[in-house]
Structures are given as structure tokens and as C-alpha cells.
Symmetry: C2
Subunit: 107 residues, 2 copies
DNA sequence: ACGAACGGTAAGCTACTCCTTACCATCGGC
DNA sequence: GCCGATGGTAAGGAGTAGCTTACCGTTCGT
């Protein structure tokens, strides 16, 4: 159940519309049409994005009558979180070694 | 010191080559040529990717002789981590709610 | 001061991503 | 059995992202 390609997860989140979908689903599970109603793209576009997100393991869908309810998949999101956590910790470690000079954060 | 567009961060990580760069930099800071030597793309390509990563606030560079050393920027990576954390927590919460209550409630 | 190392930028091409419209399949209510 | 609602899929096109080669500026060593 972890077997998702984490890479796919990152690529899935690389798209702005898909991130918007993720944010919507973070609030609560929703049907496809409901998502499309709140996004600036057509319903088929949402369908396509949902397919990508599902393949990446970031969302789960289940049928409910004629509708399909999508919601976030904690496992998938958690996998990305863990990987980012690793980068973050290593960055902090490396940062410590160089702290002696006042880094100009931006530009 | 933050004020990075988090969206830019996600889009930056959406590319496979850039993620490879991030992974390299997570190990230790490196120069441009050094990165290019370990990647399947040319040095100019690496330069372009580094520019994107820098604009997104994910890496910091400083000159060292004729070389430019790049390293991860904990602040930028941390910002993404926080946002992903939020999604993750909400996903867990929503998951709980669904398990306890039938989903028919809200559409 | 000259040459070599290092790296950023310009220009151009290929390929892919994302969107739209049109169509079809499925489910539920009457 | 029909009809409306819902949503997945196909086909096609516009825009852009990423790579390469070529070129130029800067810095260090001698």
C-alpha cells in the first residue's frame, strides 16, 4: 500500500490545478462535479487530474450512487511528507555547519 | 525572509531533474559542474534548473573562487513541509470523520 | 598579463502537458 | 423501460517546459 511511485506524487503536485483540487479535498471529500464547480476548468479536465492524482496515490475514490466521491489518501500524502522531511533535516544539518557567516537569505 | 511563493516551490519540485538536484544538495553543498557531472543533462541545463530552484527559495548559492556553491535552503524546504503537513493532518481528520459517520451527510 | 577553469545566458527545437468539445457508459427514480 | 444526472474517455490543438549548442564574462594561477 505504500508502493506508490513517490516521483509521481511530486509530478502530480507540480500542477497548479491539481494542487487546488488537493486543497479542496483537504477540507472534505467531494464529488467530481462539485470540484469542477469551484475550479476554473471544465469537468473533464478535473476528471483527468483526478486520474493522475489517483495513480499517484494521493486520492482515493469510491462510488456513491451516480457520483464518485474523492478524498485525500493520508498514506500518499504522508509519503511525500516523509521524503520532504528527510530533505529538511539534511538541509538543517548542512546549514549548521555553515552558520558562522550571516547568510543573506533572499537574493 | 520567507515570502517565497510556495506555489513556485511545488512547481520547482515537479521536475524530475530538479528533484535529483535537490537530492544531491541534501547530501552536501556542491558546485554547478559537480552537479552536472552526476546528472544526465548538460551543465547549462543544470544552471537553468538552479535558477528556478533559487527563485523558488529552495536553494542558496554563494561564490567561492570561480565556482558557485549551491546548498539547500532550510527555510524554503520547510515552507513546503509545513503546507504538506497541513494537508496530511486534514486528510487524517477527514478520514476519521468518514469512518465514524456515513458519508451521505454532505455532498 | 595571459590562459584555463568555471558558470551564466541566448537562441532554437522537440516533446509533452493541459485544456476543450463531443461522445458514451452507468446508476437511480419514476 | 425511460429519462435525467453524473462522470469517464477520445481526439485535437495551443502553449510551454526542458534540453542542446554556441557564446561571453569572471576569477584564479603562473
Amino acid at each position: 500500500m505504500d508502493t506508490y511511485q513517490v516521483d509521481d506524487g511530486w509530478e502530480a503536485l507540480g500542477d497548479r490545478t491539481r494542487r487546488a483540487i488537493i486543497e479542496c479535498l483537504a477540507e472534505r471529500p467531494r464529488a467530481v462535479g462539485e470540484l469542477a464547480a469551484q475550479l476554473p476548468v471544465s469537468r473533464p479536465a478535473v476528471s483527468q487530474h483526478l486520474k493522475v492524482l489517483k495513480d499517484a496515490g494521493l486520492v482515493i475514490e469510491h462510488a456513491a450512487g451516480t457520483r464518485r466521491i474523492y478524498r485525500l489518501n493520508p498514506a500518499g500524502v504522508g509519503a511525500l511528507r516523509d521524503q520532504l522531511d528527510t530533505f529538511w533535516n539534511r538541509a538543517l544539518t548542512a546549514y549548521k555547519g555553515v552558520v558562522e557567516q550571516p547568510v543573506e537569505e533572499r537574493t
